[in-house]
Subunit: 140 residues, 4 copies
């Protein structure tokens, strides 16, 4: 099976809190960056989406921590398509610290028109960029 | 039934992204502040937890967006105990914009000793501060 | 002499870094919020500026730390007009922790048209909102 | 003359505000990362400083904007030693967007003991890591 796509993350000093690890919200920032890189790897630039009149919005996000990452750690985020819907798609994320999976994430995005007219079908070019379905953990 | 506890949030200008609404991760920051205020309302100061040798850590978080909040909106976060476990507890959150619930959140916290010895039972004073169980949506 | 305008800040847990105090950049976030509140106190809503076709942009910022603030501290930011220019104005800030001034700030803003046509004269309504000139420390 | 040291910055989507450019405070985050990379380039790991019982703290920061950076821009931060003091040192920063200098920064750091005993002389190993004095703009 093909290698998972992974995106390198530079943890910033300020992201680490008094517990000595990255504060919980920053993982969503990492997922956001990783999503953009994942689509680009699939041949779609984020700016080409908005230029074509649509954008993606989060409707659901779930995170599970088995561990944490710290400043100066070697951090990568794996991304994979978990589910392809009509107007939405689901990505699975896995935060890797030196190869160990420490945080799991699942995010559901909906495709919306940038003119405010609401949801729309996943465009062909976006669907293609998402690649083959390969959930990193069981789907509900 | 008693009123839900709510905590007022001052949305910062910088939290709003190019889509014109608060970027997704900041809701976890709001939940964090609201959790602290919720415990304090229940009679427990966060600093008294760490002074007593324990702290809380996130092991799971889930968010569902039906809408969004913007800068200068009237924003409050409702907090309620969803489940009380032996070494963990679950809080339900609801982000209210002018009274309308726009984002739902559920966070599972585990109690850990600050000396690094790992998980521990929910201390009595913390359990009391959490109040009565009252999930804001169905439990799994 | 009239009281200085001050704006209350809710320090977020995540803003505190491993050194145990608010990470340096967040003071600029506090200044931003305080500036908006200062203008509103002077009778001008930020959204009325952009609705009227102009906005303000930072061209210079300086900060001096004599101390720091932490989570749960009682924090206020004093704001005062330091200098009124033709297309710009300078605000002085002072971060107060329980009444003690711990961080000084000075920010120069330029007024720009939102249509991209560049700098413009400080509108009368904005000039009025800025109030009387009262630098909190010597001007260069 | 030797090339200036530069550090690549990955601008995050969330750092861009409604004005379409990176919100002002994030430049201080970039400087922080660039400072660490600059010291490492000079042979000193940040963690070796704290392990040796000292750390650096900001006492002054100044920023001047001639332009701005946006998401997906090619951004680098140049760093250079502006002044070497007895207990402090000053770094000059320059934010480069595709080679153009758009933001200037100057930060004064003081060396403090991590045991809380206050300021101390710049250790030899740190002084060496700072390299030759080469201000990027005139000193006061």
């Amino acid at each position: 099976m093909a290698e998972l796509f992974t995106h390198r993350v530079d943890v910033r000093y300020l992201e680490v809190d008094q517990q000595g690890v990255v504060f919980n919200m920053w993982y969503l920032a990492y997922f956001d960056d990783a999503m953009t890189a994942f689509l680009e790897h699939g041949g779609l630039l984020y700016e080409d989406m908005t230029a074509a009149g649509y954008d993606v919005q989060l409707v659901h996000a779930a995170l599970d921590w088995r561990g944490a990452v710290g400043w100066r750690d070697d951090v990568r985020v794996a991304v994979s398509l978990a589910r392809r819907g009509r107007t939405s798609f689901t990505l699975d994320f896995q935060v890797l610290r030196g190869g160990d999976a420490v945080v799991d994430g699942r995010v559901v995005y909906v495709v919306v028109a940038t003119d405010g007219s609401g949801k729309m079908s996943v465009p062909q070019v976006l669907s293609q960029a998402l690649g083959v379905q390969r959930p990193l953990r069981p789907l509900p």
